[in-house]
């Protein structure tokens, strides 16, 4: 039952401590875990939005610069001048040196004829009157095309500007290097899974995407989704992975710069951090669990031990109290027994007196009367002796203090019993440690105890055997052991042997008080007597006496 209480307590302690210490840790861990992802996502969206915007601005700048230099050239040179191929070539070189990214340059007059051309294609003499862009550039003054195949069967786009001159308009047109352009666009892509490209309002790729599709192919982007300046949209891509798309319209609102990215790739560092966090928390949890189990077990074991000690201490106290109470009661009872004994003795004496009278002498039973009276008196005497002895012991309890040599006392006691032992063929072996010091104690009482124990040992053996007497000094105590090879003691005897009136001897042969008194004497000295059976045969009495060095007078 006690075991269950301890297990219960241990479980309660364990559970409470674990819950209290782990809960905040785990809650924190969970919060951080989800925060990581959420914050990560937010950050990636912001990042990609910003990049899309910045990149769109860069592309816009690029186009603006090219348009500006075309305008500058158109404004500063006349039609006559430009139409001459040498001049055009020279201007083309200057333009490429300063701004770059021009593939070719051409002059187109108001009738749509390509009048002059410098570049890798054979476009001279072609007419663009019917081309829709022609009208637009004539009316608006500038034009940028979508990417198209055109006469040259290569995807390209052009920028054209118009100049009014002497009531005549003419167009300066240049093709932008698609490779250079794509480079600029692509510079926005990041990592293994990022991409950057441009689509027009019809969702047609204007630059080559990195993964699926090609220039002039239809993309999966729905430009409707991208309103405002910059928008970020989340979609599942062609391999089923999550992808962020940031779209930023260029200034002319005809082209949409799209940057896309698998956010997971961007957040990879965050995920690594999150893994570390989980790892640390797991370690923490394991450490907490292990230490908690360990410490609770330690605490419970200590508690068990303390409880056990308390139980033993209590038992000892109870035993001491019992003996003390018995002692007191014994004295009281003994005294009260004397009075009835006195009456009995007087009455038997009176009966004896009466039997002396003549009238009784002839009775046949006179002898029986006399014998019975004698027996009564004999047993009254026996009772009186018991009471006398017990009261005598009780009175002698206060020990005196004198210089006592324990070994000497033992030797004296053994000498007293030598003859008795020899007659019964019992051998007394003596092994006394030399260095045992002289202590402050009561010699008479100590001798009484040794006498009692030795007599018991001899009586236990009866005849033919041996008694070992050993004295040792250890840890501030003198330990005297008396061992016999008699029959040993029963379980009951081991338990009760120090109780008053307990004796294993025949009726009338022992008072049962010897060991009780010896125990009390030694206890009053601050020592103890223990008994146990030897492993082979016989009993072993151990007397421990604390060493008290006599004061120098």
């Amino acid at each position: 039952m006690r075991e269950r209480i301890y297990r219960n307590l241990q479980q309660k302690m364990l559970t409470l401590t674990l819950v209290v210490s782990l809960a905040p840790l785990l809650i924190l861990g969970a919060v951080l875990y989800y925060q990581f992802e959420n914050t990560g996502r937010e950050m990636t969206r912001e990042q990609i939005r910003y990049r899309a915007q910045a990149q769109a601005e860069a592309v816009d700048l690029f186009l603006k610069e090219r348009t500006a230099i075309l305008n500058a050239m158109a404004d500063t040179h006349s039609f006559e001048h430009m139409v001459k191929e040498n001049n055009l070539t020279r201007i083309f070189e200057v333009m490429n040196n300063r701004a770059g990214a021009f593939v070719d340059l051409g002059i187109i007059d108001s009738r749509g004829d390509h009048r002059a051309y410098v570049g890798p294609y054979d476009l001279l003499g072609r007419n663009y009157l019917d081309q829709p862009w022609f009208n637009e550039v004539m009316i608006k003054g500038h034009y940028k095309s979508d990417v198209y195949m055109g006469f040259r069967q290569q995807p390209h786009f052009i920028i054209a500007v118009r100049r009014h001159e002497n009531k005549q308009s003419w167009i300066l047109r240049a093709t932008i290097d698609p490779i250079r352009f794509e480079e600029i666009v692509r510079s926005a892509q990041i990592g293994r899974t990022g991409d950057a490209f441009i689509v027009n309002r019809e969702s047609v790729y204007q630059t080559r995407p990195r993964f699926e599709g090609n220039v002039l192919a239809k993309s999966t982007i729905d430009p409707q989704q991208f309103g405002g300046r910059v928008t970020v949209v989340e979609k599942t891509d062609w391999v089923g992975e999550e992808r962020l798309y940031a779209g930023s319209w260029l200034n002319d609102n005809k082209w949409l710069l799209v940057i896309n990215q698998q956010p997971l790739e961007l957040m990879s560092r965050l995920f690594a951090l999150r893994q570390t966090e989980i790892f640390i928390i797991t370690l923490g949890v394991l450490a907490i669990v292990a230490t908690t189990i360990f410490t609770t077990r330690l605490a419970i074991n200590r508690l068990k031990r303390t409880d056990q000690e308390m139980v033993e201490l209590n038992a000892q106290l109870v035993q001491s109290d019992k003996l003390a109470a018995l002692g007191k009661m014994a004295a009281g009872v003994a005294h009260e027994i004397n009075n009835p004994l006195a009456v009995i003795l007087q009455k038997t004496g009176w009966m004896e007196d009466l039997l002396e009278e003549e009238a009784f002498q002839e009775s046949e039973n006179i002898d029986e009367f006399r014998k019975s009276i004698a027996k009564i008196e004999e047993h009254v005497e026996r009772a009186r002796k018991v009471v006398h002895n017990m009261l005598g012991y009780a009175r002698k309890m206060e020990p005196r203090l004198e210089d006592v040599d324990v070994n000497d006392t033992l030797n004296q006691t053994i000498t007293m019993l030598e003859n008795h032992a020899r007659i019964n063929n019992i051998d007394i072996q003596v092994d006394l440690e030399d260095a045992i010091p002289i202590i402050a104690s009561d010699q008479a009482q100590l001798q009484q105890v040794f006498l009692n124990l030795l007599t018991n040992a001899i009586d236990a053996i009866g005849s033919n055997g041996s008694v070992d007497v050993v004295s040792r000094q250890t840890h501030g105590k003198i330990v005297v052991t008396i061992r016999d090879d008699g029959p040993g003691l029963s379980e009951e005897a081991l338990r009760k042997i120090f109780d008053p009136f307990y004796t294993t001897k025949d009726v009338g042969k022992g008072t049962g008080l010897g060991l009780w008194v010896s125990h009390n004497i030694i206890a009053k000295m601050g020592g103890s007597i223990h008994v146990k059976n030897n492993p082979d045969r016989g009993a072993l009495f151990t007397v421990e006496i604390p060493i008290v060095i006599p004061e120098k007078k």
């Binding site: 004295a331 003994a334 005294h335 004397n338 009075n339 004994l341 006195a342 009456v343 009995i344 003795l345 007087q346 009455k347 004496g349 009176w350 007196d353 009254v380 009186r384 009471v387 006398h388 009261l391």
Partner: protein, 153 residues
């Protein structure tokens, strides 16, 4: 004196009555009472040679008090104390107060008779001394001695 008289004082009635009977059987003039008060009263009317007094008498006058009273009013009467084990110290105290001796209960009549013999011898010796002194006085002052005898009775 040709005969002697004994007063037994003990609250244990069975004991006291039996002891009285046994002493009377031996031709000793014996009276028994069960308390210290009754003892003092009895002593006022009759002279006793020895008082056998139980030390422990609960209720009323105890042994020591009774002893004191006896010795105050009847200094020539010897007192023998009967005591149980627990009151030996009291008995020794009693002897300092003038008790002749003490016996431990339960007593044997033989032991008691020995003590009584000693008590009577002591009394006898004491009385002989007084007698001798009186005779001396008588020779010197005849009238005054008779006066003293009357007072003592």
């Amino acid at each position: 004196m040709d005969y002697f008289s004994i007063l037994v004082v003990d609250d244990e009635t069975d004991f006291m009555e039996t002891l009285v009977k046994r002493l009377q059987k031996r031709n000793i003039d014996t009276v028994g009472v069960t308390s210290g008060e009754k003892a003092i009263e009895t002593l006022a009317h009759k002279r006793f040679d020895v008082v056998i007094l139980d030390i422990k008498m609960p209720g009323g006058m105890d042994g020591i008090e009774t002893l004191r009273e006896i010795k105050r009013h009847h200094p020539l009467t010897e007192v023998l104390l009967l005591t149980g084990h627990g009151s030996v110290e009291t008995s020794i105290e009693g002897m300092k107060m003038g008790a002749f001796d003490y016996l431990l209960k339960p007593i044997k009549l033989e032991d008691l008779m020995v003590k009584l013999g000693e008590a009577f011898e002591k009394k006898d010796a004491h009385e002989q001394k007084i007698r001798k002194a009186r005779i001396k006085e008588l020779i010197r002052f005849p009238g005054r001695v008779f006066q003293q005898e009357k007072e003592e009775e």
